[in-house]
C-alpha cells in the first residue's frame, strides 16, 4: 500500500533487439512529486527504458500505467500527450531556430484558424524562461548558447509542454559547480510544481544528494529499488556491478623518466591560451575539466587536426611542427577520440583493413598492399587485445561495441606510438569494463608509452594519473601532482575558483 500516489508504473516490461534482451521483466515505480534516480552501468538498459517512456520503442511485454490508468505509448507524440518529456544528455536542439521555437518545437501554439500564434508563443516562452530565472532571451538563436544554456532551454521545453514526468539524462555532465547548484534549485522548483522526475546519473554522490528514491538496473533487469535513505554509496555500487569492486585502479608502479614532450604557450583565438605543460616518459598525465572547457580542442590541435595561432611543441627536445595528423603519427603521437565510432572505425572495411589503416605505408611495397605484412599485423593485435572476430574479412561494423573499440585501439597500437592521447577513454563504459581499460593503460606505460588522458571523472583521474592539468574555459588553471592534492582542490580549480 502506498501512501503517496503512483505517478508512473511499469510492470513486467520486456524489450529485445536482435541478439540482445535489453529489458527483462522490469518493474519501475515513480511516485508523485519524487525525484527518482535511475542507476546502472552502460548497457544495463537505462536508455532503452527511457526510449520506451518517450514512445520511441514499444515494449514486447508488460504494462505501463500513468496516474493508475493503463496507456500505450505508441509514438513520441502520444508520450508527450501523457505528459512525459525527456531532457537528453546531448540537447536535442535546432541551432538555426530561436530559443522560443526550440521550446515549442513539435508543440506549437495555434490559433483557431490553424495558423501559428507567434504572439502567444513569445509570451509563454518569456514566462517560462523567467520562471527559471535565466537571462536567455526568447529571440536568441540556439547556436549561440552554451551547453548549460541548452539544457535550460530543454527544461523550458518540458515546462512549456506541461510535462508531469520529466526525465533527465545525465544533466550535470557539462555543468560547473555553480550551474549544478542552480540545476538542483530548478529541480526542487519542479517538484513544488507537482512534477515527478526521473534522474539518470552515474555520479552516485549526486544521486545520494538529490534523489528521494532509486532503482538500479543491471543487464536489463532490476536489481534493487528503494528509498535513498535506505542505502549507501557502496551498496549502490555493488548492486550496479554485482560484485565487490576493491581494486578499481590497478596501476602498476612504473619509473617515470625524463620529459619527452613539451607544449609551450599554445594559443588559439577564442579556444585556449597559455597552454604550457610537459609530459614525462611512462607518465600518465590527466587533463581534467568540465565538458566544454577546451581540453579536446587543445589535443586536437596538438594532433594536427586544427592549427593553433601561436606556440611551440617539442618532442624529445626537438622543436616539431605538426601541421596534419600524419605528422603527429609519424612522430609517434596518436589520438583516440571520445567519439569512438565516428572518428575511429571504418565500418564497411574489414577488421583486417581497419587494424592496418594507420600502417598502410609501412605494410606496403611501392604503394602495393603487402598482404602478408597486413595479416601479421592484424593477427598480432587481434591476439594482444583479444578481439573476437571469426574471419578477417568480417566487416568492422558487425562487431560488438567493445570489439569495435578494441579494433580502433589495435589500429593505433600497431603504429607503435610513444605518446597516446586518450580522450575520455571510459566515457559511457560500465564499471566492470572501466577496470579493464585502466589495467590496459597500466600495461601500456609499462611497455614504455606515455599517456595523456582527458577525463571528466575525478575518481579516474585520482586513481590513474601521476599529474593532472586542470582546465577551465580554455586555460590551464593549475598542474597538480595527484599524490599531493585532493578531489576538492581539483574540483575547485576546474570550476573556475
Amino acid at each position: 500500500m502506498f501512501l503517496i500516489p503512483m505517478k508512473l508504473e511499469l510492470t513486467n516490461i520486456s524489450k529485445s533487439f536482435p541478439g540482445i534482451k535489453a529489458l527483462n521483466n522490469v518493474n519501475f515505480y515513480l511516485k508523485q512529486n519524487s525525484v527518482h534516480g535511475l542507476i546502472g552501468e552502460n548497457g544495463a538498459g537505462k536508455s532503452t527504458l527511457v526510449k520506451i517512456l518517450c514512445g520511441v520503442y514499444q515494449p514486447e511485454e508488460g504494462k505501463i500505467k500513468i496516474n493508475q490508468k493503463e496507456v500505450n505509448l505508441d509514438n513520441p507524440k502520444v508520450s508527450l500527450r501523457f505528459g512525459i518529456s525527456a531532457i537528453h544528455q546531448e540537447p536535442v536542439m535546432f541551432d538555426e531556430l530561436t530559443v522560443m521555437e526550440n521550446i515549442f518545437i513539435g508543440n506549437h501554439i495555434i490559433k483557431k484558424n490553424n495558423f501559428i500564434d507567434w504572439n502567444q508563443m513569445t509570451k509563454k516562452s518569456d514566462e517560462v524562461l523567467a520562471a527559471l530565472e535565466t537571462n536567455i532571451k526568447s529571440s536568441d538563436k540556439v547556436k549561440s548558447l552554451s551547453i548549460a544554456q541548452r539544457h535550460i532551454v530543454q527544461i523550458s521545453r518540458s515546462l512549456a509542454q506541461d510535462a508531469d514526468i520529466v526525465i533527465m539524462d545525465e544533466p550535470t555532465a557539462a555543468l560547473s559547480q555553480k550551474e549544478i547548484q542552480e540545476l538542483y534549485k530548478i529541480i526542487t522548483n519542479l517538484q513544488k510544481q507537482n512534477k515527478s522526475i526521473i534522474f539518470i546519473s552515474h555520479k552516485l554522490d549526486e544521486i545520494l544528494e538529490i534523489c528521494d528514491e532509486f532503482t538500479v538496473l543491471r543487464d536489463g533487469g532490476v536489481v534493487s529499488a528503494d528509498l535513498i535513505s535506505n542505502t549507501s554509496k557502496n551498496e549502490l555500487i555493488s548492486n550496479m556491478v554485482g560484485r565487490q569492486i576493491n581494486q578499481i585502479f590497478p596501476k602498476k608502479k612504473v619509473e617515470i623518466g625524463n620529459e619527452i614532450f613539451v607544449a609551450e604557450n599554445l594559443f588559439k583565438k577564442t579556444q585556449f591560451k597559455d597552454i604550457s605543460f610537459n609530459l614525462k616518459h611512462k607518465e600518465i598525465l590527466g587533463f581534467y575539466g568540465l565538458i566544454g572547457s577546451g581540453r579536446t580542442e587543445i589535443m586536437k590541435t596538438i594532433f594536427g587536426i586544427n592549427k593553433f595561432d601561436s606556440g611551440k611543441l617539442f618532442f624529445n627536445d626537438q622543436h616539431v611542427h605538426i601541421k596534419k595528423p600524419l605528422d603527429a603519427i609519424n612522430l609517434g603521437i596518436v589520438y583516440l577520440s571520445e567519439e569512438r565510432q565516428n572518428l575511429g572505425l571504418t565500418g564497411t572495411m574489414s577488421v583486417k583493413d581497419n587494424l592496418n589503416l594507420a600502417m598502410l605505408e609501412k605494410n606496403s611495397n611501392y604503394m602495393i598492399v603487402d598482404e602478408l605484412k597486413n595479416l601479421t599485423t592484424a593477427q598480432k593485435y587481434k591476439d594482444k587485445l583479444n578481439i573476437k572476430v571469426s574471419y578477417w574479412s568480417q566487416l568492422a561494423q558487425n562487431l560488438s561495441g567493445g570489439n569495435q573499440q578494441k579494433t580502433v585501439i589495435g589500429k593505433w597500437l600497431a603504429t607503435k606510438p610513444k605518446i597516446i592521447i586518450l580522450d575520455e577513454p571510459t566515457k559511457g563504459i560500465d564499471v566492470g569494463s572501466k577496470s579493464a581499460v585502466h589495467e590496459f593503460m597500466g600495461e601500456l606505460v609499462n611497455e614504455g608509452m606515455s599517456i595523456i588522458m582527458i577525463s571528466a571523472e575525478l575518481p579516474e583521474i585520482m586513481g590513474m594519473c601521476d599529474r593532472v592539468a586542470v582546465v577551465y574555459k580554455g586555460l590551464i588553471r593549475k598542474i597538480l601532482d595527484v599524490s599531493e592534492t585532493s578531489s576538492e582542490e581539483i574540483l575547485s580549480y576546474a570550476s573556475g575558483e
Binding site: 572505425l345 564497411t348 589503416l357 604503394m367 595479416l375
Partner: protein
C-alpha cells in the same frame, strides 16, 4: 592465445549468390540469351564489336567516376568537361598546333576543369553535388560562349584514328583503351594503399582524417583525374563524331553515373568494385545495342536507363520489405 583465424568465411557455395557481381553476371548472361533470341543480328561478332563504340567513351569516364563515388563524392560536370576539352581540341587543331600540343592541351584543359571542381569543394567544404551542378553550367556555358553556333570538324589524324579505327582491324582503339584502363583501375582500387584510402574516405571521412589520411588531397586529385579522363574520352569522341558542337555529350553524366551505380557501387560511398562496374557497362551497352536493333528510339533508351537506375537501387528496399513481412 594464438589461434589463427580464417582469411575468409568457410567456402559456402551459397555465399557467391549474394555477391553483387555474380548477380550482375547472371543478368548479363540472361541478356545475351534474350537479345540473341530477339534479333538475328545480335550475335554477329562485327556488330557486337561495333556496338562498343557507343559506350566506350562513357565507360572510360565511368571508371574514374567510380573512384569519385566510392570516395563519397559525385561529379555532375563530366559531360560539360567533355564540351570544354573538345573545344580546346578543335581550336588548337584549327590554329595549326602540332598534334602533341593539341592532345596535351586537351588533356590539360580537362585537368584544369577537374582541378577547379576539386579546389572549390575542398577549399570551401561545399558538397560536391552542388559545386558540380554549378560547374556543369559554367563549363558547358564557356563552350557555348566560345563556339556560339559554330562547330569544329577538323582534328588531327591520330585523333580520328583513335576514335573510329581498329587495332589490327579488329579491336576498336576506344574499347581497347577501356579494357586496359579497367585493369589499371581495378589494380589500383583493390591492390594498392591508394584504393584502401579511398574506401576509408568514402566510408568515414572523419575517421580517415584522424587516421592520417589527407582527405582533401585525395578529393582534389580524384576530381582532377575525373577531368583528365573526361578529356581523354572527348578525344575519342571527337575523333569518332568528327564534329564538335557545344552540346556534345549532352546528358552523359546521368548515363555514366548509372553505369557506376548499377554496378553495385554505393552512391554514398565506401563500397563497390571495378568488376561490378565493368559488367554493368557491358550490360548497359548490350541493352542499348539490343534496343537499338529493335528500333527503339534513343529517347526510349534514355527513359529505360533512368528507370533501370531507380529500380536497381530501389529493389533491395522492396526485397527487404517483403522479407520483413514474412518474418
Amino acid at each position: 592465445m594464438n589461434n589463427k583465424i580464417l582469411l575468409n568465411p568457410p567456402k559456402n557455395i551459397l555465399n557467391i549468390f549474394y555477391k553483387k557481381e555474380f548477380i550482375l553476371f547472371l543478368v548479363l548472361i540472361l541478356l545475351i540469351i534474350f537479345n540473341s533470341q530477339i534479333s538475328p543480328y545480335f550475335l554477329d561478332l562485327y556488330n557486337l564489336i561495333d556496338s562498343t563504340f557507343l559506350f566506350s567513351e562513357k565507360a572510360i569516364i565511368a571508371l574514374s567516376m567510380t573512384f569519385v563515388i566510392i570516395a563519397r563524392q559525385i561529379d555532375l560536370s563530366v559531360a560539360s568537361i567533355i564540351a570544354v576539352s573538345s573545344c580546346v581540341l578543335g581550336y588548337t587543331t584549327s590554329i595549326g598546333l602540332p598534334t602533341f600540343y593539341v592532345i596535351s592541351l586537351t588533356l590539360f584543359s580537362g585537368g584544369v576543369c577537374g582541378a577547379f571542381n576539386g579546389f572549390i569543394i575542398t577549399r570551401y567544404a561545399i558538397p560536391s553535388i552542388i559545386v558540380t551542378i554549378g560547374t556543369m553550367s559554367l563549363f558547358r556555358g564557356l563552350a557555348y560562349s566560345f563556339l556560339e553556333d559554330q562547330y569544329y570538324n577538323k582534328f588531327p589524324d591520330i585523333v580520328v584514328k583513335l576514335g573510329s579505327d581498329y587495332l589490327f582491324g579488329y579491336i576498336p582503339y576506344s574499347f581497347l583503351t577501356f579494357i586496359i584502363l579497367t585493369l589499371c583501375f581495378a589494380f589500383v582500387l583493390h591492390k594498392t594503399i591508394i584504393g584502401k584510402r579511398i574506401f576509408a574516405i568514402g566510408n568515414n571521412p572523419d575517421a580517415a582524417k584522424y587516421t592520417g589520411i589527407d582527405v582533401d588531397k585525395y578529393t582534389f586529385v580524384l576530381f582532377t583525374m575525373n577531368g583528365i579522363f573526361s578529356a581523354l574520352a572527348s578525344i575519342f569522341l571527337s575523333g569518332r563524331l568528327s564534329s564538335v558542337r557545344p552540346n556534345i555529350a549532352f546528358g552523359w553524366e546521368l548515363q555514366i553515373i548509372t553505369m557506376v551505380v548499377f554496378g553495385g557501387v554505393y552512391i554514398y560511398g565506401g563500397s563497390g568494385s571495378i568488376l561490378g562496374v565493368f559488367i554493368s557497362i557491358i550490360i548497359l551497352g548490350m541493352l542499348s545495342f539490343g534496343l537499338g536493333l529493335l528500333n527503339v528510339p534513343g529517347v526510349g533508351i534514355i527513359i529505360f536507363t533512368g528507370l533501370l537506375l531507380i529500380i536497381s537501387i530501389g529493389l533491395p528496399s522492396v526485397i527487404k520489405y517483403f522479407r520483413n513481412q514474412n518474418e
